[in-house]
């Protein structure tokens, strides 16, 4: 019978597993920290839509490049930034409600992406990779891009911490403090697009929103201040990535799905037992209230 250490070390003998783990942890941390703002600003649906809207860009790159994986990153980046700015502009004009506008763009772009990919012969395999990720296919070049852009996003989050905090807490207050709110709104959207693109290969389009929202939501239940929330969210994101990949390796389930399932399990746990705010706590304190 193998020891626990063997179980931990054995998968690391495969270089693709090592690359996959590094990619998943990087992505897990960046998504989880930016995700704090996604949760606090109520941008979950927007994040989901943005992820799906990247598909046509990736598909065009895929068709033009004849299946080469290298340029896809840049095609996805371009599509993501264009969509982010487009959503920012549409929701500003106010004729159509923001969530309706997002819904229209989201489904339309997804349909376009699926239509484009369906013209290729290896349709179902390719689509599955884009939709659900292929973390074990991460190359060293992908890793470098992920690390560079992930570091850039985190550097911006850190540099503009106090502005993003005020903007997320109360945009009207931010405006009266003469924080350039429109600039920060677009900056947040573009950072979201970049984060989604670097995460594309790890979890894919369909499960992206879980990486952004779930660790941050768990952390929100367990912490009282934003720096702590971001720190715990990052730890949960990294842990989910590692535990998910090991689960995927040993139980032979899809890696993106395994990562998201771990993150979801942690959320459910926190939702039930979070001190002061969990379901269990409320039941107990209600009993205590009735007894007195």
């Amino acid at each position: 019978m193998p020891s626990f250490m063997d179980l931990l070390l054995q998968p690391l003998s495969h270089p693709f597993m090592v690359r996959g783990l590094i990619a998943a942890v990087l992505v897990g941390v960046v998504c989880a920290i930016l995700g704090a703002y996604v949760v606090l600003r109520g941008m979950a649906f927007l994040g989901d839509a943005l992820a799906h809207s990247i598909l046509p860009g990736v598909a065009i790159g895929y068709l033009i490049g004849g299946g080469a994986r290298g340029p896809l990153f840049w095609w996805g980046m371009a599509a993501g930034i264009v969509t982010a700015l487009g959503i920012g502009a549409i929701s500003r004009q106010g004729e159509i409600k923001e969530d309706t506008a997002i819904g229209v763009i989201f489904a339309g772009m997804l349909a376009l992406g699926v239509a484009l990919i369906s013209t290729t012969r290896s349709y179902s395999v390719d689509l599955a990779h884009f939709m659900f990720g292929d973390v074990l296919g991460v190359s060293s070049g992908d890793l470098v891009l992920t690390a560079v852009f992930g570091a850039l996003v985190l550097a911006i989050v850190f540099a503009f911490y106090k502005e993003f905090l005020v903007y997320a807490f109360d945009p009207l207050l931010a405006a009266t403090l003469r924080v350039p709110t429109r600039f920060f709104r677009y900056l947040l959207l573009v950072m979201l697009a970049v984060t989604i693109v670097i995460s594309l290969q790890t979890v894919g389009v369909a499960l992206m929103v879980a990486m952004l929202v779930t660790p941050a939501a768990t952390a929100l239940l367990l912490t009282r201040r934003l720096p702590a929330m971001m720190g715990l969210s990052a730890a949960l994101g990294a842990f989910s990535a590692i535990a998910g990949l090991y689960l995927s390796y040993y139980v032979n389930v899809a890696s993106g799905a395994a990562i998201v399932l771990i993150a979801t399990a942690l959320f459910v746990l926190a939702f039930v037992v979070a001190p002061g705010r969990g379901v269990l706590w409320r039941l107990v304190s209600r009993d205590a209230y009735h007894r007195t």
Partner: protein
């Protein structure tokens, strides 16, 4: 870039009124929210802004705060345009904020320093000391570590006032600050507002409480898209003008009662 990094407040013209509105009109998609409103308010004045729902109180506040441009007309603060000022503080209604947001009282008060610091600068020791002083002043220093959502309504209002103080606000706009507060909390807020008046801070308060408006403010402003009147309560709260603002509902019969209500608010001044 220099301007972004250390932003100074627009130099105040000492002789100018704190707010001067000239024929300010705001239209949204064809409906008129504010119609030809002109008035002046002096530094240090405390003015109650009264009118029915939809009378344009929040619209007026947004114009004064410099986050909404009038469709026509002109509004100046201390002789300059509102966007140039970082001395305007907005004290929000309780329902306006997310009570689950992970910030404690000290974090919220520190937010007031954001505009003064400018981009890419972190708050220093002087900023932190100022935050502690502002919390002392409004009596929330012992709540500094509490999450904002855990406080009572009155405590939250005091925290937002502390934030305005940390912002070094010269002009404070308060939207229904006393709604749902008990009498003691209201008294406490008025005590703080007296202190702010002593420092020369101009305060505008939107309220539905005609009695308090009449008793606890230097002047009242009666608004129903148009400015129906601004001045002493006895001159503005006439049955004719109140009728124009609220329709027949609040005419003659209710008026004396309305004006007699709010004696509770100014204990300090009556004693």
């Amino acid at each position: 870039m220099e301007r972004l990094i250390s932003r100074q407040s627009f130099a105040h013209d000492a002789a100018a009124p704190s707010i001067a509105a000239e024929r300010v009109t705001v239209r949204f998609d064809g409906t008129v929210a504010l119609d030809d409103v002109s008035f002046e308010i002096a530094p240090g004045e405390r003015v109650a802004v009264v009118g029915p729902n939809g009378a344009g109180k929040s619209t007026l506040f947004r114009v004064i705060a410099g986050v909404l441009r009038p469709s026509s007309g002109r509004l100046t603060l201390y002789g300059g345009s509102p966007e140039e000022h970082i001395c305007v503080a907005f004290v929000p209604q309780r329902t306006h904020i997310d009570l689950h947001f992970p910030v404690n009282v000290r974090d919220v008060v520190l937010m007031g320093r954001t505009g003064r610091l400018g981009l890419l600068r972190r708050p220093g020791r002087a900023d932190r000391r100022m935050v502690e002083e502002c919390m002392e002043l409004v009596g929330v220093a012992d709540l500094a570590e509490r999450r904002i959502g855990e406080l009572s309504g009155g405590q939250q209002q005091r925290v937002f006032i502390a934030r305005a103080l940390a912002q070094e606000a010269q002009l404070m706009l308060m939207d229904e600050p006393l709604t749902g507060l008990d009498v003691n909390s209201q008294d406490e807020i008025y005590r703080i507002l007296d202190e702010m008046r002593a420092r020369g801070v101009t305060v505008l308060v939107a309220t539905h409480d005609l009695g308090q408006a009449a008793h606890c403010y230097d002047r009242v402003m009666l608004l129903n898209r148009r400015l129906l009147g601004i001045g002493a309560a006895e001159e503005v709260f006439t049955s004719d003008l109140l009728g124009q603002a609220y329709g027949e509902r609040l005419r003659l019969a209710d008026l004396p009662a309305a004006l007699a209500w709010g004696d509770a608010c100014c204990h300090g001044e009556d004693e």
